[in-house]
């Protein structure tokens, strides 16, 4: 029972963190998209949200300012999707809360 509660809380926390990252990116880039309609596995670049290289700077800056997560070229894989960004954010800062 305790384990299920912990799992539930973990799922809620993850859901809120994903939503916070989506809001941060969509708002920061001023994209005409509802953050709640962005699929967490949707590619951020190329097809998907169709972001370009200048948007990389904005996302890197937003992740640092809003979540305290620092991204460099070595972590380029994180731009694959919102889920990959949040995976990396949680791994680098385990105490992250849904900002």
């Amino acid at each position: 029972m305790v384990q299920r509660t912990a799992q539930y809380e973990r799922a809620v926390h993850r859901y809120e963190l994903n939503a916070a990252v989506r809001r941060s990116i969509i708002g920061g880039l001023d994209l005409p998209v509802d953050p709640d309609l962005v699929d967490d596995d949707q590619p951020l670049f190329g097809r998907g949200l169709e972001l370009d290289s200048l948007d990389t700077l904005e996302i890197v800056s937003l992740m640092e300012e809003d979540f305290g997560v620092y991204i460099t070229d070595e972590q380029r894989f994180v731009f694959g999707s919102v889920n990959k960004l949040v995976d990396f954010a949680e791994a680098s800062q385990p105490a992250l809360d849904g900002a």
Binding site: L54, L57, E58, S61, E64
Partner: protein
């Protein structure tokens, strides 16, 4: 380790300039010149000069507020922490960044240790990059001006200064590359390349060597730090709004 000391009122609407190496020399003179132009100053220095420092006193006299952070610009975590705290502490827009922190450690190439070479590159080149990287992020939405301190040694090279000359040559190339990379964000990047200047670095040279060098300067004297600072101020303000990617010699005609 970063330490912040608020030494003046930060609630004002004056524009803000960040200056590294602000505790002395050209960095200190640049802080004063920018304060005279109406800026408040955030100073990065390795010593973390206090509210009683000469830089603070001079900036306050010129009408500017002064905040100082203890930062070793060669240490990535120092630079990141300092930027984070200065951006969150007052939420004010950063208008200009002057990267003045620099060191020399001269010697003949044949006997120069790798550590000595690396130590100069670490502060002068890596440190400049680290500060620029954070500055771009801070100014990405508002635009601004970045001024890097180069040297005539970065243009023509000086015997006994392979490390310093290489670092400043790198700063020159960085100026041009970065200017092209961030022009679209409204950020201008330029460098000032002083020749011989009355700083601690120059005063450490022996008198005979100094006099010998002066004979090669068309204006027959070394620069005062404030003369270099005026060029910094020009490139850091809207006075130079259509100039980017340039290296401006302030050398009494040495490289003419």
């Amino acid at each position: 380790m970063v330490e912040e000391k608020i030494v003046a009122d930060q609630s004002s609407a004056r524009p803000v300039a960040l200056i590294t190496g602000a505790s002395r020399g050209i960095g200190q003179s640049s802080a004063v010149a920018m304060a005279e132009a109406g800026f408040d100053i955030v100073g990065f220095s390795q010593s973390g000069d206090s509210g009683n420092s000469e830089t603070c006193r001079l900036v306050n006299l010129a009408g500017g507020a002064y905040v100082t952070h203890k930062v070793n610009v060669a240490v990535e975590s120092d630079v990141r922490s300092a930027f984070r705290s200065l951006l969150t502490a007052n939420g004010r827009r950063l208008h200009a960044v002057v990267v003045s922190a620099g060191i020399t450690s001269d010697g003949l190439a044949a006997t120069m240790s790798a550590d000595r070479f690396d130590s100069v590159i670490a502060v002068n080149l890596r440190g400049t990059f680290l500060v620029c990287r954070e500055a771009i992020k801070a100014m990405r939405k508002t635009g601004g001006a970045i001024v890097l301190l180069s040297s005539t040694s970065g243009v023509s090279g000086q015997a006994g200064q392979v490390n310093y000359s290489a670092s400043k040559g790198g700063v020159n190339a960085m100026t041009q590359a970065l200017a092209k990379e961030v022009a679209g964000l409204g950020i201008r990047v330029n460098a000032v390349a002083p020749g011989f200047t009355e700083t601690d670095m120059f005063r450490r040279m022996d008198v005979k060597a100094r006099n010998g060098l002066i004979q090669h300067i068309p204006l027959q004297r070394v620069a005062k730090p404030e003369e270099v600072a005026r060029a910094v101020r020009f490139l850091a303000t809207e006075e130079s709004s259509y100039i980017t990617g340039q290296i401006l010699p302030v050398d009494g005609g040495l490289t003419a």
